[in-house]
Symmetry: C2
Subunit: 202 residues, 2 copies
């Protein structure tokens, strides 16, 4: 029987909407912004900094990625330190949240952080680019942007962040119990499939 | 509305069983061995040769893969020719089958062959290694084999075959509408999810 649902998603895939629906239908807590708030409390970092650097690699950590991991050569560690500290705090918070009981956790490498628990249902949501653009254009912060370029950049930074911290490939089928293309399946049907898999899964 | 279901799968994941169940429940034809028979008819090749080389790369085509594709440098083409001919015949047969109406097609790069049709539901089935070994050990042809080594080899050869012929990565989430881990979800639940997505999909 599954206890925890982790949902990784492409920006603009509707993954957050699906995760919320799943938590509501199952009557279990949904963790997204709450994790950011907890990290801010523990670290003293700003909400903006945590939101940007808790899921996306920066140019600094991209540099580190090319040959230098958190446990590797530490010549640049003073530059990279705050990013690795943020990751370590986030890691601990996700472990604590999962220890409290059933919940849905959005993003933040939670599938990797909880890799030793066999009671996680790990989900990845993606979508075709056309529908991602339509969805992302609706967000206030994206006015006047080249949304397609923005989305491709988000993908790249999320993929690098995930690779750097987990040494896995983001969006590789084998890492997930369920991968759903929301633009083919539909937002509501995605939520239903996840709920059923959680309730009936092996 | 979707018309065609393509199902790619890891050896030992139960993908063939799931594909059969889906076709039965939806009352549409299931193509697996029938494709092999059609290829044998058209090519004069033996059933054994087609079964082995219509989904798996050989040492010859692995050689070609390292820098030489079907349209690339042709210095080795006499060696590779029969494999490329087999792929071309298989390609045409899959197009013909799909043109006839709704059906389920197992493996053979059908997701790629039919990439220009928007009415395909593309599915990938995988499983944890433990359950794959149990399943594969049950097949008569695997008696006295090191089954884990055999499965890893099958994965490698299928991945190379797919890469060589499609220039895509086998099992990469973005290529599929649905990716299901049969060892987490269950064989019957996988079939049900696919049937529902086919009937209700966008």
């Amino acid at each position: 029987m599954k206890q925890i649902i982790t949902i990784s998603r492409q920006f603009g895939s509707g993954g957050r909407t699906i995760a919320k629906k799943v938590a509501e239908r199952l009557g279990i807590p949904f963790y997204d912004k709450e994790i950011i708030a907890k990290i801010c409390q523990q670290s003293g970092l700003s909400e903006e900094f945590v939101a940007e650097n808790g899921e996306y690699t920066t140019s600094h950590s991209q540099l580190m990625f090319h040959g230098y991991g958190p446990n590797g050569f530490s010549g640049f560690s003073s530059v990279n330190n705050v990013y690795d500290q943020l990751y370590a705090i986030q890691y601990g918070i996700i472990l604590d949240i999962a220890a409290e009981g059933p919940c849905v956790i959005l993003g933040r490498c939670a599938d990797y952080v909880l890799r030793d628990r066999e009671d996680c249902l790990n989900v990845f949501i993606h979508s075709d680019m056309e529908k991602r653009i339509l969805r992302a254009e609706g967000y206030a912060e994206n006015k006047e942007k080249n949304v397609k370029k923005f989305l491709i950049d988000r993908d790249k930074k999320r993929r690098l962040y995930y690779k750097y911290n987990t040494d896995r490939n983001w969006g590789e089928a084998e890492n997930y119990d369920l991968v759903l293309k929301s633009s083919s399946i539909g937002i509501d049907a995605c939520a239903e499939i996840i709920c059923n898999a959680y309730k009936n899964g092996l």
